[in-house]
């Protein structure tokens, strides 16, 4: 690999190029896992019913706040309260489906967009109204300040745990979708709603399940993120955009696609920042996305 084109000051504890590369790549992958986990929920929902949940980032924000309040009020470590945050988000997802989405399933696309977009604005403003725009950070959790060092590479413990959590969640979802009856029914409904219902699969229950799983993933991601990222009402916007890119890049409706695309986006983002310039790292991510969409419109692994 050619040395980076910015001046490297060779003195004292300046980094060697290869080490810098590996460190950056590792950090990119770690954040990429989190992108993947957030994206898989969105891709499930879209694959199922072709509704883009614009409020997905805000679901993440809610999950982070849930973790924060349980830590702040009941001194529960985010990793310990993870099941509770996940459950809370599952309930939020089901409620959203039953109260809002169900009514707009057959509505014109504009109405569907407005519904979830409106939900996004509502949740964001609600969070700001209830909890003020001030930042919250969970300090001194089990993993908060931890750091591993492997051969000169620093691995932040919270990021590592988040990545592990993402992998475990993915494995679970993959097992569920491929190996269980209900999972396969879910995929069948995603592939052809009418044919599936002719086979006796209740679409309504499948949709509810999709929203439940999708929001549950976000719940896990939020709990994991809250150990190292600041929590504020706008945090959904920060991750929301990246999530859409990941979903589109991986292919709408493809779970393995979301996984790979998340890692790719994380990697490209940090590498572009390192080798080109941090100010255009998003531009490079979106450029890659444009390229994939032009050459392969259904995304990397998309079917629809």
């Amino acid at each position: 690999m050619p040395p980076p084109d910015f001046p490297v000051h060779e003195r004292g504890n300046a980094q060697v190029t290869a080490e810098l590369l590996v460190q950056t790549a590792v950090n990119g992958l770690l954040i990429g896992f989190v992108f993947s986990l957030v994206a898989v929920g969105l891709t499930l929902i879209f694959g199922m019913m072709e509704i883009v949940n614009f409020a997905h980032g805000e679901f993440l924000m809610m999950a982070m706040y849930a973790s924060f309040w349980m830590w702040s009020l009941f001194a529960l470590d985010p990793l310990v309260s993870l099941p509770i945050s996940t459950l809370a988000l599952v309930l939020l997802g089901i409620a959203t489906y039953k109260l809002i989405i169900k009514r707009i399933l057959n509505a014109p696309m504009l109405a569907q967009i407005f519904a979830t977009f409106g939900l996004m604005v509502f949740l964001r403003s609600l969070a700001q109204f209830l909890w003020t725009p001030n930042f919250r950070v969970i300090q001194h959790s089990m993993v908060s300040d931890g750091r591993l060092e492997l051969g000169g590479i620093f691995l932040g413990l919270p990021q590592l745990v988040a990545a592990a959590g993402a992998v475990i969640s993915f494995a679970f979802i993959y097992w569920f979708v491929e190996r269980t009856e209900t999972g396969r029914a879910l995929m069948a409904t995603a592939e052809d709603r009418d044919a599936a219902s002719l086979m006796g699969i209740n679409s309504d229950r499948m949709f509810t399940l999709a929203w439940a799983i999708g929001s549950g993933c976000v719940g896990v991601a939020g709990a994991l993120l809250s150990t190292f990222y600041y929590i504020q009402p706008e945090v959904g916007a920060v991750f929301g955009l990246t999530t859409f890119v990941v979903v589109a890049l991986g292919g709408f409706g493809s779970i393995p696609g979301a996984f790979i695309a998340g890692l790719l986006v994380g990697l490209v983002q940090v590498m572009a920042g390192l080798f080109i310039a941090p100010s255009i790292k998003f531009a490079v991510v979106l450029a890659i996305y444009l390229l994939v969409v032009l050459l392969r419109p259904q995304g990397l692994l998309g079917k629809y």
């Binding site: 954040i31 930042f135 920042g273």
Partner: protein, 463 residues
Amino acid sequence: MPRRVSPRWFLSAAMLVAAFLAAVGCAQTAPAPTPTTAAKPAATTAPGAPAATSAPQAAAPTAAAAAAPKEIKIGVLLPLSGGSASTGLDLKYANELAAEIVNGKYDLNMPLAKTEGLPNLGGAKVTLVFADHQGTPEKGQSEAERLVTQEKVVALFGCYQSSVTQTASQTAERLGVPFLNAESSSPGLTDRGLKFFFRTGPTDATFGKNLFDMLDDIQKQKNIKLKTVGIVNENTLYGTDANKLTKQYAQERGYQIVADIAYPANTSEVTSEVQRIKAANPDVLFQVSYTSDAILFMKTYKQLDVNPQGILAYGAGFVDPEFRKVLGKDSEFVITRAAWSPDIAQKKPLAKAIADMFRSKYGQDMTENSARDFTGMITLLDAINRAKSTDPKAIQAALAGTDIPGDQLIMSWPGVKFDDKGQNMHAQGINMQVSGGQYYTVWPFNAASKEIVWPRPKWADIK
């Protein structure tokens, strides 16, 4: 080939002409807007209607003859949501406190405290109309427009982020409404030579020079030589201008710039940025960031063990109370430029009185941001009072003639007096350092309340 005029074309043209005539007619017969709210009358007539020129002439004599208003409305544009929302709240508190002091009767040696309301306007009370610009220049522009044309404010105040102040003040200039800025530091804002724009706070030209003068003093005092400099800045107007100034000063004073990194604000990770800094290993690191990024960078510095001899910040996120609250001991030893420091309250009774009032009312300490806004708001209200009218030109003239002595300010400045570009020529800065969770003045050395800690202890040694 000659075209036949189709009936449809003719009908549309006729309708257009009719609409035009109707608009002109309406503009001429519309009553002039109530003179108590002095937004320029031209703003309320239909745009492009040629009758607009007659409307202000009709309004001016009635304005002069009108009775004094009961309420003076000031539009305040702040980032009340978004990444700098906690600063926006801090600034809102400062402005509310200033308005409360002016509207009430307080025994303080500062303008308008001892009287209720604005005495030269019949005791009119000040009403602040807050608008959230969310940190985006477009919203700043549209909110400024709305405040003037719909809320009928007599002056605008704001906006914190230099990029937003830039567009909002341009709108104010176009609408002919005075705009007072207290806390945006990009020098370009006053270099534009706008007639209605005034700034009470110092610019980053002053602040940057202070930081470099401090480095000179440190090197002399500790008998060391600092050679390399790194700059990390967010990429809007504020960060870009601070970057330019830092590079200019660094080159003038013979430092080598080893890292020059602009990053997009509100990002989810700053790995690549911090990696580049770590590779470059500068002696001194200059940082220009708003709140969310400041916190993220510090956490990443700790995680990746980046240890420059000093982290020098250009205020903003670093002086936000959230910064110290969230980072705790990880915020120690950061040095920042500032216009005001909490320990000035120990030396100046007026500053102490106001800082105490702020704390007891809002439960948090005044910062150098809120101190600047407080001072700016008082300056604006003092000018409106001296103008004896709500006419924008009168307020503008009064602002231009401002001369508030230093002992009537909570700042340690010699006073407030605007130069011909609208910049307060007496605005000064100091440098402060976090120690034990609080900011203390550490430079100029003869005004310091605590001795500077240099070099910054390594992360592993900060307990």
